[in-house]
């Protein structure tokens, strides 16, 4: 598992991109291919971001500690898809028309949220190497909590983008809520060191 686990996760995570490229070169995209590329890379960025956030709860619940080794790869793939998503918007969709792109980022809440989600991922991707983890020490943990904000922004980006907020965007927001609530509950759990004081049984 350890030997084949990482290559397997790598292949699974890059497969949607491979499929997209294949469809592109074999004329299998819709009649609005730019939209296909935008939507596919966007949804996979969000899926992988949520997958990376699911690692810790999965580990806590199942006790499968080795699963942590996949977290960085999932996070980096989320960043990869988000980068392609943003580049598609800037280059293919908007044709580098910055006189439209910049006002969009400021004026359109869904684009502001999307940009926020992306910008917050940049320092996380840059400091994902072993060297940076060592150098930052305890601060690394703190810095990487930005991922929560990034994921929240990403979910709002999706919710605010659609014309009617039912179905997919709501499911992803619900999944993120679940993952965050798990973390809160985990923090609040009674631990051996922090016993809940039992009320003495009243005399019968």
């Amino acid at each position: 598992m350890t030997r084949f686990g990482k290559p397997l996760v790598f292949v699974l995570a890059i497969a949607p991109f491979g499929w997209l490229v294949f469809r592109g070169f074999t004329n299998r995209l819709s009649v609005n291919p730019i939209e296909d590329i935008t939507l596919t890379t966007g949804i996979w960025a969000l899926r992988l971001l949520l997958a990376s956030l699911a690692i810790t709860p999965l580990r806590r619940i199942t006790g499968w500690n080795q699963v942590i080794q996949y977290r960085r790869m999932l996070g980096l793939f989320a960043f990869f898809y988000a980068s392609v998503h943003l580049l598609t918007y800037v280059v293919l969709d908007q044709g580098l028309a910055f006189e439209f792109i910049l006002p969009d980022i400021v004026k359109r809440p869904y684009i502001t949220a999307g940009m926020t989600a992306f910008v917050l991922m940049v320092p996380l991707a840059l400091t994902s190497t072993k060297g940076w983890i060592r150098r930052l020490g305890r601060k690394w943990q703190l810095l990487h909590r930005l991922v929560y904000l990034s994921a929240i922004a990403a979910c709002f980006h999706f919710l605010w983008k659609v014309k009617v907020a039912i179905g997919e965007p709501v499911y992803y927001a619900a999944a993120l809520t679940l993952l965050l609530v798990f973390r809160i509950l985990w923090r609040l759990r009674p631990t051996p060191g922090r016993q809940v004081v039992q009320r003495p049984a009243s005399p019968a």
Binding site: S30, D93, G95, A97, F100, R108, P109, K163, V164
Partner: protein
């Protein structure tokens, strides 16, 4: 007349000679065309129509583009959902009720509704509120012909349209995406405008279900969602009717919804659009390029307020 002033129409295109010479043949075929339209799937060729009554020199979008990329939430939210699921809809027999403030309300079978009129080909730009567009060769009849036959009373100031409600065949209607059935409306003068048509065909054949078969409205100077599909009722009313998208999100979708590059959708710009099949976005034209014909309908109106 307004249509004759259309600079896009060349005189030679109005009635080409070969069509004129074969007119008797077409008259015969026209009668049978709608009887044949009763077939459950695919399209039936239509004939006897006046070609290119309104046209443009822009390239047409292909049949594949027009029939594979649709917003028709009755069949799902995805652009490919209508193509995938609309086949289930039975469009024959099809009745259209015309009622409300008029002297001659009636329930028509589709064939009877269309029969008295000459089908016309209208090549229109279609601009979706989502900032994409196409050029589409519709076949249809002016809505005004249908409306006049019902003899609307002087009190009728608006026209309301309703789409079929049949969740068993329109699976999207089982979801709460919009308040079903889909309803739309036009002001009387918009409805009577010569550019406004009820389309029954596309590329010389009956409509595909995903495009709103068997009969749909086409109002080329308004965002696409105003052009309601699969219509079963046309009603004359004296108040501005409720409309589906305005209901769902009143700040984003107004009653008028004229194509207007100066009034942005709250979430995206309407200044540019992507013509399906083109890479770079192109500027959006006021009233979708039909300003010469329709701007006068709105003179004196603040189009930012009445978006």
């Amino acid at each position: 007349m307004l249509l004759k002033r259309n600079p896009d129409v060349r005189a030679s295109e109005i009635t080409p000679e070969p069509w004129y010479l074969r007119r008797r043949e077409f008259m015969q075929l026209a009668g049978s065309a709608f009887a044949a339209a009763a077939m459950p799937f695919g399209q039936t060729p239509l004939s006897g129509f006046k070609p290119k009554v309104v046209t443009t020199d822009e390239a047409l979008n292909t049949f594949e583009q027009i029939t594979s990329y649709n917003n028709f939430y009755e069949f799902g939210l995805g652009k490919d959902d209508p193509q995938r699921y609309a086949g289930k809809l039975k469009t024959s027999p099809w009745k259209v009720k015309i009622d409300g403030l008029c002297a001659k309300p009636a329930d028509y079978l589709l064939e009877d509704l269309i029969k008295p009129f000459q089908l016309e080909e209208r090549i229109y730009r279609l601009r979706c509120v989502e900032a994409w567009s196409m050029v589409i060769p519709w076949l249809g009849i002016p809505l005004s012909s249908i409306l006049k036959r019902a003899e609307p009373t002087a009190k009728a100031t608006f026209v309301e349209f309703t789409t079929l409600l049949r969740p068993s065949e329109m699976m999207g209607q089982t979801e709460a995406s919009l308040n079903w059935p889909y309803v739309e409306g036009l002001r009387m003068d918009e409805a009577m405008h010569p550019l406004t048509i009820m389309a029954v065909g596309l590329y010389g054949k009956t409509l595909m279900n995903q495009n709103g078969a068997p009969i749909r409205l086409v109002v080329p100077w308004k965002y696409g969602f105003k052009s309601i599909k699969s219509v079963v009722r046309i009603r004359f009313v004296d108040k501005q009717p409720r409309t589906a998208w305005n209901d769902a999100n009143p700040t984003e979708y107004g009653f008028y919804s004229n194509v207007n590059p100066q009034v942005d959708h709250p979430r995206w710009t309407q200044a540019r659009e992507r013509r399906i099949g083109e890479l770079l976005r192109r500027p959006t034209l006021m009233f979708n390029g039909y300003g010469d014909q329709v701007a006068s309908l709105y003179s004196g109106m603040d189009l930012k307020r009445f978006y």
